[in-house]
């Protein structure tokens, strides 16, 4: 398994969303406040997480977490070793 870091995770998110300026997102950021949150953005996030980490996020996962750190922790807990 390749090493997983929150910094790399944040970079992946920033690369996917045009609204996000590089370097603005922090682990404590509430991502719903950082850019317009809608169903298409949810799919973009799901696609990125599946491609990069082979983890599936469900609709209920998406409403559960608020911060980038919470999202990262959930994904990390599901990464296959």
């Amino acid at each position: 398994m390749r090493r997983m870091t929150i910094e790399a995770f944040i970079t992946h998110i920033e690369n996917e969303f045009e609204d996000l300026k590089q370097g603005t997102l922090k682990p404590t950021s509430n991502f719903r406040e950082e850019f317009e949150w809608n169903s298409i953005n949810a799919l973009i996030l799901i696609a990125m997480v599946k491609t990069e980490y082979d983890v599936a996020l469900t609709a209920s996962d998406l409403v559960k977490f608020q911060t980038v750190q919470e999202m990262y922790s959930l994904i990390r807990s599901r990464v296959k070793t």
Binding site: S39, L43, A47, K50, T51, A59
Partner: protein, 351 residues
């Protein structure tokens, strides 16, 4: 999984027909410009073709079939089988395939069958017409596949209205001792039946006055129970979970590598899904044709429409290996590995 091989069957020709009427995403004022732009870049749809009132799937398929039969120079009396695949048929009863048999002037000896499948319909239909021709010895068959899903959407539902376009297709199938094998992997999971559904209007929940009451299901999502409801996240996750293993199992079954395939034609549901699948399969973008930008999600018609629209020159001029991958409503999904060799394929027709 259902992995199997059908021998002695070839595609001799294909035609696709779309309505003239265009609906541009830029004109969809129910959502903001920002959302429209995001929809175009992410889902990949810029314009859809939408029927006028009174036109049905069978009209589009009939138009495509007439042109195809003329170009192939096939005698109508030689056609022993007509398979019509659609979820937007002319009537609740009777079946539409019989109506098409009559309108196309095919003989009474033509076996006519309806199949109720959506996104996976072309691959399922191909397996059924191919199997039946092998078992009966019928030498020429027509596979008519299409949908007019735009009729089932609510304008005030941003999760469905801008997605669906209409199209009808015709594929000519021939029994031939010299044809190369077609290999299939068909799967399904009915527990996800409600991921894409029109709740009312069948016999489980018949139409009533309340069927037409609009409800709000979220921001920009207002519809009634006679409209199609689509659980985007559920369908998205299903596609990312099932499609790649389905294709890998088919390739293993046939001892083939993905590199040996010239083109992978995915169901055109959403560019983001297909691009994610492409990355998971590690396939070059040049092998993945798209027609979604021009026609939207045309349900069962999307694979043959993409072939006719995007691979026309390749289909008509040389031998090519294709991997077709269909997935969606049902939930139902499947793939087929096949070869075509200089088939008859007129450019996309307008109705």
């Amino acid at each position: 999984m259902a992995l199997f091989t059908i021998p002695h069957i070839r595609i001799s020709g294909m035609a696709a027909c779309v309505p003239r009427n265009r609906k541009h995403i830029s004109d969809y004022r129910w959502v903001s410009k920002k959302e429209r732009d995001l929809f175009k870049t992410t889902v990949g749809i810029e314009v859809r073709r939408v029927i006028s009132n009174g036109t049905t799937t069978s009209d589009l398929c009939q138009f495509a079939a007439r042109r195809l039969l003329a170009d192939l120079n096939w005698a109508k009396d030689d056609i022993g089988l007509l398979v019509f695949v659609s979820q937007t048929r002319d009537y609740l009863i009777p079946a539409t395939s019989g109506i098409l048999q009559d309108k196309l002037g095919l003989p009474k000896s033509t076996i006519s069958i309806d199949i109720n499948q959506g996104c996976s319909g072309f691959v399922y239909g191909l397996s059924i017409i191919g199997s039946l021709m092998n078992s009966t010895g019928i030498r020429k068959g027509l596979l008519l596949v299409g949908d007019i899903s735009s009729r089932n959407t609510s304008y005030r539902d941003k999760s469905t209205y801008p997605l669906f376009g209409d199209a009808g297709t015709a594929t000519a199938i021939e029994l031939s001792e010299h044809a190369s094998d077609m290999h299939f992997n068909l799967e399904g999971d009915g527990s996800g039946y409600d991921a894409i559904i029109i709740p009312d209007g069948g016999l489980r929940k018949g139409l009533s006055k309340t069927s037409f009451n609009y409800k709000r299901y979220g921001k920009g999502i207002h519809r009634n129970n006679f409209h199609v409801a689509l659980d985007g996240v559920k369908v998205f996750n299903f596609s990312l979970r099932e499609v790649v293993p389905n294709l890998k199992n088919l390739l293993n079954f046939t001892n083939r590598t993905i590199e040996s395939v010239d083109y992978i034609v995915f169901h055109q549901a959403n560019k983001l899904i297909n691009e994610t699948l492409r990355k998971m399969l590690k396939v070059d973008p040049s092998k993945i044709p798209y027609s979604i930008q021009k026609y939207g999600n045309t349900s069962s018609a999307s694979i043959p429409l993409t072939m006719v629209s995007e691979l026309n020159q390749e289909l008509t001029s040389k031998k090519i290996n294709l991997l077709l991958s269909a997935f969606g409503i049902g939930l139902s999904w499947g793939s087929v590995l096949l070869e075509t060799d200089q088939i008859i394929c007129p450019n996309v027709l307008e109705y």
